[in-house]
Amino acid sequence: MRRALLLVTLGALWAAPAWAGLPAEQDDCLGCHGSDPAMSMDLPSGEKLAVFVDQAVFGKSVHGEILRCTDCHTEKTAYPHDSKPFASKRDVQVAYYEQCKSCHFSNYTKTLDGVHYAVMAKGNRKAALCVDCHGAHDIQRASEPRTRISKTCAGCHGPVYQVYSASVHGREADAGNPDVPVCTDCHRAHDIIDPANGALSMRTPEICGRCHTNEKMMKRYGLSTKVVDTYLKDFHGMSATLQRGTTKVRRSFAAVCTDCHGVHDIQKSSDPTSHTIQANLVQTCRKCHPDATKNFPQAWLSHYEPTPQKASLVWMIQVFYKILIPFMVGGLVLQIALHLWRVVVNR
């Protein structure tokens, strides 16, 4: 008898569907909320709020085997339970997203520094909440597959997603290339910086540099890893560094990566639509230097370090001073030393 019971149990486990692991208590809730897909309640806004939970979907979600209904729906402690007086679907979402923080506290606090929260705090209730990006009962890992991240953002930011998906990064991401950035690689996920005030663009040398100074990764595409160094050594990079580090109010912004290469529409420098291809360079310079003429782009060494072949004049001047300065300073110091020695000897 015992043996038979064991066999039955094992058989049941083997044949268990995905939701077999749901905590037993769920049955009580799902007894009502899991049976009728049309189950809904009318909200004062005129919207219908679906209150049906698909066991299969929840069971397969990341929380399926971990959370009980009441872990999130904390106020539903008994049956029958009251309905909260929500005016609209959005009210429900705004009220329930707060539940995430009891487990995901660090990500929740990050969102408080994010642009979505700031927009929400100003009264725009359309700004994204946890559930808008992650879902509710159907939560899956946000980055599986990785392209899902950008598609999630596209839900609200459609036009900019269209531009991105036509860029060199977007096309490669769609093709399954794990090297290229998706939205959150530059914008971050929870503490998204407001791109409007310049703080994000001031960080682009570091953001772009994370991949573009990675020898191993750049080798795959035949790209130089000196792009950040050469930028920082140039007038723009120097100015941007000092502007970024300043504690004073910034009155101007020196060009950063995205000012020349574009933001969401970045293309290879060899692409005819690229902002940085030779033919389009003057136009790109004119964004900040309206008087720029056809010679002006040569003032920028295109991320090359001066060599006898490339920018030979700049290279020669560099070499000249590399020799002259030690020679001059060494000579003067030597003469001072000799003079002091003479003074000492004379005494």
Partner: protein, 238 residues
């Protein structure tokens, strides 16, 4: 005979003070732009109210340097044309001989240093170093203020070339002044702690006798000691 001799005119003293203030401000606002990655550079820039203000001060001082340099040349050419001055700052063969003799003296190969005229070879070196440096700094500085205007007529590569020259020439000027000038005007045991001559315009007869005996002899009319180079003394206003 008075113990002091007037060595510098009021105009020369004013030029020195002006150059000193402008040079100091140019270094304080320029060097942090060269060493922009260092913490001290950022703090210094913040002291001037951020990079935009620091750059404004730097350019203002640059213009002041340009104007004072032009004025200096203009008045020098004018006084030379009127033959109101001796060409006391022009390097001569004697300066090279003096330099060699001085080094031989320092090394113990001679018993005494050479006798100098109004400006010794070190002072001429510093003066012409400043003149050449000013020209390089002003020209490259102008290219950096007006890159688009320059590229309208000339190759764009002049702009990064000017930046390299400006930044290195500036560093060299800073090093020469802090090492050489500060030694000669302050730390040199002969003048320590402070050679006040360029501020008061006066120098003691003892120092003249020690440092510029040929000029002293000319001033005091002892042409025999001064040798052939002596002409009628006319007050130097260059």
């Amino acid at each position: 005979m008075s113990t002091y001799i007037v060595r510098f005119t009021l105009k020369q003293r004013i030029e020195h003070v002006l150059t000193m203030v402008v040079f100091t401000l140019l270094c304080l606002t320029g060097l942090p732009q060269k060493f922009y990655g260092s913490g001290w550079a950022q703090r210094l820039v913040d002291l001037f109210g951020g990079i935009d203000s620091a750059r404004w001060i730097h350019r203002f001082c640059g213009w002041a340097l340009l104007i004072s340099t032009l004025f200096h040349f203009y008045s020098a050419i004018f006084t030379i044309a009127q033959k109101k001055t001796r060409l006391s700052m022009i390097p001569t063969r004697k300066d090279f001989e003096d330099a060699v003799a001085t080094l031989r003296y320092y090394l113990g190969l001679r018993d005494h240093g050479p006798k100098y005229d109004r400006y010794d070879y070190k002072q001429k070196f510093e003066y012409w170093g400043l003149v050449v440096g000013n020209i390089v700094m002003v020209l490259t500085g102008l290219i950096l203020i007006y890159p688009t205007a320059v590229a309208r007529f000339l190759p764009g590569q002049l702009v990064p070339a000017a930046k390299v020259a400006h930044s290195n020439e500036g560093l060299m000027a800073f090093l020469v002044i802090t090492i050489w000038h500060v030694y000669n005007a302050h730390l040199n045991p002969d003048v320590f702690p402070f050679d006040t001559g360029i501020f008061t315009g006066k120098i003691s007869r003892e120092r003249m006798l020690h440092e510029h005996p040929l000029e002293l002899a000319r001033i005091e009319g002892r042409a025999d000691e001064a040798g052939e180079t002596v002409g009628t003394h006319v007050r130097d206003v260059g």
